[in-house]
């Protein structure tokens, strides 16, 4: 088993943390996992992305040119990764910010208005967590409970107060996908 995820969005949309969270959860699940970031020249703004590979075998490359799954939070990311996803792969789209639709027919598209759903649970800043809830519901490689545990374990101390809203965000994302049927 080897799963590959690219998370991509503007700096500040929390894609790095999102990837790390998934990585923590995978580690706790006893799997091999790698996380690796990549940035543009901008310090803030610009597009950043990270890649997470999860496997039950030692992982060779932590970088993948054609990921199985891409999770995109803004238009430039969508434009970049739509064509790169492996056939039969998945592209998860933050449809609150990306109006374009996926035109490829050989991959699955998961549209989640993550930013709007996050606003619903209380803060646009948890759009990334909403998306993770949605993603792991559509593609259940890791139990969402693991992510919750990882949040508990790895959220920096001064952010512990945000635990509850993160849990709600996970739930909202899951719920959204479940509701889609």
């Amino acid at each position: 088993m080897q799963e590959e995820f690219v998370f991509s969005g503007f700096g500040g949309q929390g894609v790095m943390f999102l990837g790390q969270l998934l990585a923590y959860a995978a580690m706790d699940e006893g799997l091999e996992v790698t996380w690796i970031p990549s940035y543009g020249p901008e310090m803030r703004g610009g597009t950043a992305h990270c890649t997470v590979v999860i496997a039950d075998q030692p992982i060779g490359s932590p970088i993948v040119r054609n990921p199985k799954t891409a999770v995109v939070f803004n238009l430039p990311s969508f434009e970049k990764y739509e064509s790169l996803v492996k056939p039969d792969g998945l592209i998860a789209i933050n449809s609150a910010l990306i109006e374009d639709k996926c035109t490829r027919t050989d991959i699955n598209a998961l549209e989640v208005p993550a930013t709007s759903l996050a606003e619903e649970v209380g803060s646009v800043r948890v759009a990334n967590i909403v998306m993770l809830g949605a993603l792991l519901t559509a593609l259940p490689v890791i139990p969402i409970e693991r992510v919750k545990a990882a949040l508990e374990g790895h959220l920096p101390k001064h952010r512990r107060n945000l635990l509850e809203i993160n849990f709600s965000a996970l739930a909202r994302g899951a719920e959204y996908v479940n509701a889609m049927g």
Binding site: V33, W35, S61
Partner: protein, 369 residues
């Protein structure tokens, strides 16, 4: 260019997700690092940042120098007092350290230098590369010497090699370079850290501590007369022979029956592993040798394997540097091919697989003859 700001370390020795740079920093600290001097440069900076907090908290010496030139000379000074000392940088910064490194070699001081290589030449970019293989193995400064060079391929190995680096440095009174690349520095993987060690207060018998009730000690790299300088050079060469004898390290896979031997180190070696696995799945008799020491290069094992292998494929993230060492090791016994990506591009398993298939095909065409 931004760095991840939220990657900490737990006190625990259990497995945790660790970024390579931070893993090296923390491993050095736990190995009893007494002093660190460095200068920020991507993709190595988290190493310095981590130590800026941890060393101070542990009451040890951390100083951000005004430049890499200053940093290596601070290391030179601290090493002269017998302290466990380290610096870290990336390619351009390592170039600036060449003179200081040569002085350290000429003064036989045990220091550890971490080079998290990036794309070059010049300012280049901050992507992972191995373009400085020659610089670290061949000429880490002017004059006849070679540092010991360790090349980790995973975060765990980065940790283990950091601990090993200090031991080797002190065992041989020799400089050790940990040659990582941007990928090792930037990626996170689960890994285990070593136990915390206090700093060693016992000073070796050559260390500068003040000539208190004993004769004076001198640390210098000058030998004005050619005869003395040659004797000193011979001493270094003898030590290098000893190091070559004792310290060649590598990992290997499927080498008992391989027709084609793939050789790669660090990130390239790690990725080659996936390609080799894939090739085996396709039924190709391919093996892998991943040098863990670039100096001493695992000549002996490679030359041994060359006896019952039909060809070699060297994979590097550069225009072909270690491939010279492989050629020297096999000494014309078997053909040596090369697959390289440059400029910060990391080769992917499928590209390497393709290179393997290409090479393999040519080999098996030749074999029947």
């Amino acid at each position: 260019m931004p760095v991840d700001k939220d990657v900490g370390v737990n006190d625990t020795m259990a497995k945790q997700m660790l970024k390579g740079n931070i893993a090296i920093a923390e491993a050095a600290l736990r190995a009893g690092l007494e002093a660190y001097f460095g200068y920020p440069i991507t993709p190595q900076t988290e190493l310095l940042e981590h130590l800026s907090k941890r060393m101070v908290d542990e009451g040890r010496v951390f100083l951000q120098a005004e430049s890499e030139v200053a940093a290596i000379n601070m290391v030179y000074g601290a090493a002269s007092t017998g302290a466990r000392v380290m610096t870290s940088s990336s390619s351009p910064g390592i170039s600036l350290m060449q003179e200081g490194m040569s002085y350290i070699a000429g003064s036989e001081l045990p220091v550890v230098i971490v080079d998290v290589m990036r794309g070059g030449p010049g300012l280049g970019n901050i992507l992972p590369a191995q373009g400085d293989y020659f610089q670290v193995t061949r000429s880490a400064g002017h004059g006849d010497f070679h540092p010991i060079v360790l090349a980790p391929a995973s975060v765990q190995e980065a940790i283990d090699f950091t601990v090993l680096a200090f031991d080797l440095a002190e065992k041989y009174r020799h400089m050790v370079i940990i040659a990582a690349d941007g990928q090792i520095g930037q990626m996170m993987e689960p890994a285990e850290l070593p136990e915390m060690k206090p700093i060693n207060k016992v000073r070796p018998d050559w260390a500068l501590t003040g000539a208190n009730g004993r004769g004076k000690r001198i640390i210098t790299s000058i030998y004005l007369s050619g005869e003395e300088m040659e004797t000193f050079n011979q001493k270094i060469q003898d030590r290098l022979v000893e190091i070559k004898l004792n310290e060649q390290r590598w990992a290997e896979l499927y080498t008992d029956d391989c027709v084609l031997l793939v050789i790669g180190y660090g990130t390239a070696g790690r990725i080659a592993r996936s390609a080799v696995e894939a090739a085996r799945e396709k039924g190709l008799k391919v093996g892998l040798l991943r040098p863990q020491t670039l100096y001493p290069f695992p000549d002996d094992r490679i030359s041994e394997l060359a006896d019952y292998t039909e060809g070699c494929l060297v994979v590097e993230m550069n225009a072909g540097q270690m491939v010279d060492d492989v050629r020297l090791a096999v000494g014309g016994q078997i053909p040596v091919s090369f697959y390289g990506r440059m400029g910060g591009i990391v080769p992917l398993p499928d590209e390497i697989l393709e290179a393997i298939e290409d090479t393999y095909e040519k080999l098996t065409i030749h074999t029947p003859k």
